[in-house]
């Protein structure tokens, strides 16, 4: 498996690919991208390469009819795509030895999006090559973001074509640099913050949930929340950064979710491409909020039910999405009647309830979830062999990761970055971030024992 955080990828594969990509004349650039993406997928998961290729061919052929706005082929292909996803998820759930194809949920969602856009006449040129590049594009295949086809179209529209050679070289280099900056920030978030915070979370698991003190249990859910945020946001920034290096537009997947005022807003700013997908391809087609209160509730229920199932089939994901659904419903229909109440409850939801829901998200076994919540709220039970000083032993050595992780939650950094990204100070800071990240990348890559110390 090779990912964006591999030493080989960062230091060799990506630079070489960029070189190759830009040597090829602009109008043929889709080819190296497609071949590289297919190779990238094959290397990571060759067993299911055929499956994905087959799906693309079927989607292309049926798409020829869908483009003519024929309803039956459209319904058929949507069911085929969803069926593939559900079958694998169900099989994987029933038999743990069955491996689910890499990135399945993501490319299935992209294929559905493609067909829907095709049906609505939003896609001008329906080509197998375009579709395949869209599905395979290596920046998004492992864990998103879920771009629309318009992203691919924008990437291959060549705005620099008519400019002279020197301008093109400069603009390309500037673009690569811009992408690289985002890539470094993402890498830092993932490798320096998220991966280290993950160790704290795993240490809590090692102690056993029945034996953690209440303060440690709370530190745990907040640590996990931060870890998940920087892991995912970091990954999304890396993907977006590589995209920019290749001349694609920036794709925003996170927009300071923790400064949201309500849960509903939080999920408009968290994993945005997924939320937008649900909105455009499920919520709106069902009628959204325009068909009365009851229909709105049902539509929201459908969206959150599917969101829960999409993340996993274990019961904790149902509790996770169910509690979010209830909070959103209460915000929308009860608390919204009083602005001040909504302001207080909404923030309480975002800062207090959301981390708790991440706890539910993280712990897949209901029994363990019960143990954990009994420690969070010690009224509901007593722990076993709890060491009340455990927070002193466990947490301080992670302060070096926790403190920056908390400081970086402030939305001001993004604004400052946008304003000052070309100044020497920001660049030096990025250089330091890159060095710190590479230290972890190389140590964990070259030495598999880095995290194996007992």
């Amino acid at each position: 498996m090779i990912t964006f955080t591999d030493q080989m990828f960062i230091l060799a594969i990506l630079p070489l690919f960029l070189l190759l990509y830009y040597i090829v004349p602009a109008k043929y650039r889709a080819w190296p991208l497609f071949i590289f993406s297919a190779g990238f997928y094959c290397y990571n998961d060759y067993r299911y390469f055929g499956l994905l290729t087959g799906l693309i061919i079927i989607n292309y052929l049926v798409g020829l009819l869908v483009k003519k706005e024929k309803k039956i082929p459209f319904v058929f292909i949507i069911f085929l795509n969803i069926g593939t996803l559900i079958s694998f998820k169900a099989l994987g759930f029933m038999d743990k030895s069955i491996l689910i194809p890499l990135g399945l949920s993501y490319y299935i969602f992209k294929l559905i999006s493609y067909q829907a856009d095709l049906f609505k006449g939003k896609i001008q040129k329906h080509t197998i090559f375009g579709l395949a590049t869209y599905a395979f594009i290596f920046t998004q295949i492992i864990s998103g973001p879920i771009a629309r086809y318009s992203y691919i179209e924008a990437g291959f529209a060549t705005p620099l074509e008519n400019k002279n050679f020197k301008t093109r070289v400069y603009e390309t280099l500037y673009q690569i640099q811009d992408g690289l900056k985002l890539f470094i920030i993402g890498l830092f978030m993932k490798i320096c913050l998220a991966d280290n915070l993950a160790i704290l979370w795993s240490n809590i698991k090692t102690i056993g949930y029945e034996s953690i003190s209440t303060p440690l249990a709370w530190t745990g859910v907040y640590t996990y929340s931060l870890r998940l945020y920087y892991d995912f946001w970091g990954y999304s920034l890396m993907a977006a950064g590589i995209g920019i290096m290749l001349g694609f537009p920036f794709i925003k997947n996170f927009d300071q979710p923790y400064s949201s005022r309500t849960v509903a807003e939080f999920y408009r700013r968290w994993h945005m491409t997924l939320g937008e997908w649900f909105r455009d391809y499920i919520y709106f087609p069902l009628g959204g909020s325009r068909k009365g209160q009851l229909r709105t509730i049902i539509n929201l229920l459908v969206v959150w039910l599917i969101t829960g199932l999409w993340h996993g089939l274990t019961p904790n994901f149902m509790i996770w999405s169910g509690s979010l659904f209830i909070m959103i419903l209460m915000e929308k229909f009860v608390f919204s009647k009083n602005d001040k109440l909504l302001a207080v409850i909404g923030r309480f939801h975002v800062w207090f309830m959301i981390p708790l829901t991440w706890g539910v998200f993280a712990i897949t076994s209901i029994k363990n979830l019960g143990l954990y919540f009994a420690r969070l709220f010690p009224l509901f039970g007593v722990g076993i062999a709890v060491n009340h000083r455990d927070i002193v032993y466990t947490v301080p050595k992670f302060a070096i990761y926790l403190i920056p992780a908390i400081i970086m939650l402030l939305p001001i950094w993004e604004k400052l970055y946008k304003k000052y990204k070309d100044t020497i100070i920001v660049q030096l800071l990025l250089l330091l971030m890159a060095i710190a990240s590479m230290y972890f990348v190389i140590n964990s890559g070259g030495n598999p024992f880095m995290y194996l110390r007992f």
Partner: protein, 261 residues
């Protein structure tokens, strides 16, 4: 379109500095062929003899069950699994002294200042033993060493440590704790940290016991399941005991007391 050359220079600086890190890669030597290592152990058996001087004529002692106050003058030395004992076995923690540290190896014990004393200074075990007195010294290390050197090196280092302890604390008894097993799942999936490798190391240190001043406690008898691996109910990561599951180890220690004449 204002391209600043310094930006580009910085871009290259990032790549070059990243590349330069390559020089600092850490490599760890380890073996996966257990048989070779075992032969080596037999060949070099001589080098792993504990020098107990003058005490060989003493009678062998046998184990008996003791109560927790037995640990009042005891010292426990070990890696993260010993750290766990100090945090989650209250009866021992409130009575005994612990010099335990995550990722500690027998080689660290030999050479490094790794124990923080009362003034916050890092001291070697030898510094500490020359100023503190203990009657019983329990040791459990060994899992971290599996990735480095051979079982012969391990046994030699262990011998050296015990010899030096005996020099500084001639009246003390040393209790070697067997290296705790890992779960079957962990053992089957890990080319390195598996029970075969752990047993090779355990077999290398078992002969150090003379049952007069040096004793070997097989704690795995208390912690294993029927497959001879660490009981999976006692752990979530396959290696460390859960906070609530230190009791079997505690029992093993209670049932392996040796009374001083």
């Amino acid at each position: 379109m204002l391209l600043k050359i310094k930006n580009l220079l910085l871009l290259f600086a990032v790549i070059i500095s990243a590349l330069s890190f390559n020089g600092y890669q850490l490599y760890t030597k380890y073996y996966v062929e257990p048989r070779q290592a075992q032969t080596a152990a037999t060949v070099n058996n001589k080098s792993t003899k504990v020098q107990y001087k003058n005490k060989i004529t003493e009678k062998e002692k046998s184990f008996e069950t003791v109560d927790d106050d037995y640990f009042c003058d005891a010292l426990f030395i070990g890696d993260s699994r010993m750290v766990g004992l100090s945090r989650y076995c209250e009866p021992i923690d409130t009575r005994a002294t612990f010099y335990a540290k995550e990722s500690l190896t027998i080689y660290n014990i030999q050479n490094d200042p790794w124990i923080e004393d009362e003034n916050g200074e890092e001291k070697t075990l030898w510094d500490m033993l020359s100023t503190h007195e203990f009657k019983k010294i329990y040791i459990m290390v060994g899992i971290n060493e599996i990735g480095t050197k051979t079982d012969v090196d391990y046994s030699c280092a262990y011998t050296d440590v015990i010899n030096r302890i005996m020099e500084l604390e001639p009246e003390a008894m040393v209790f070697i704790n067997s290296i705790m097993h890992v779960t079957k799942e962990k053992s089957d999936s890990d080319a390195l940290y598996n029970n075969t490798n752990i047993e090779i190391r355990n077999n290398a240190i078992k002969p150090l016991a003379d049952n007069r001043h040096i004793f070997y406690i097989n704690i795995n008898d208390y912690l294993d399941d029927e497959t001879g691996s660490l009981n999976s109910e006692y752990t979530t990561d396959g290696v460390h005991l859960k906070g609530a599951c230190y009791e079997p180890w505690h029992q093993a220690l209670l049932e392996h007391g040796v009374k001083i004449d």
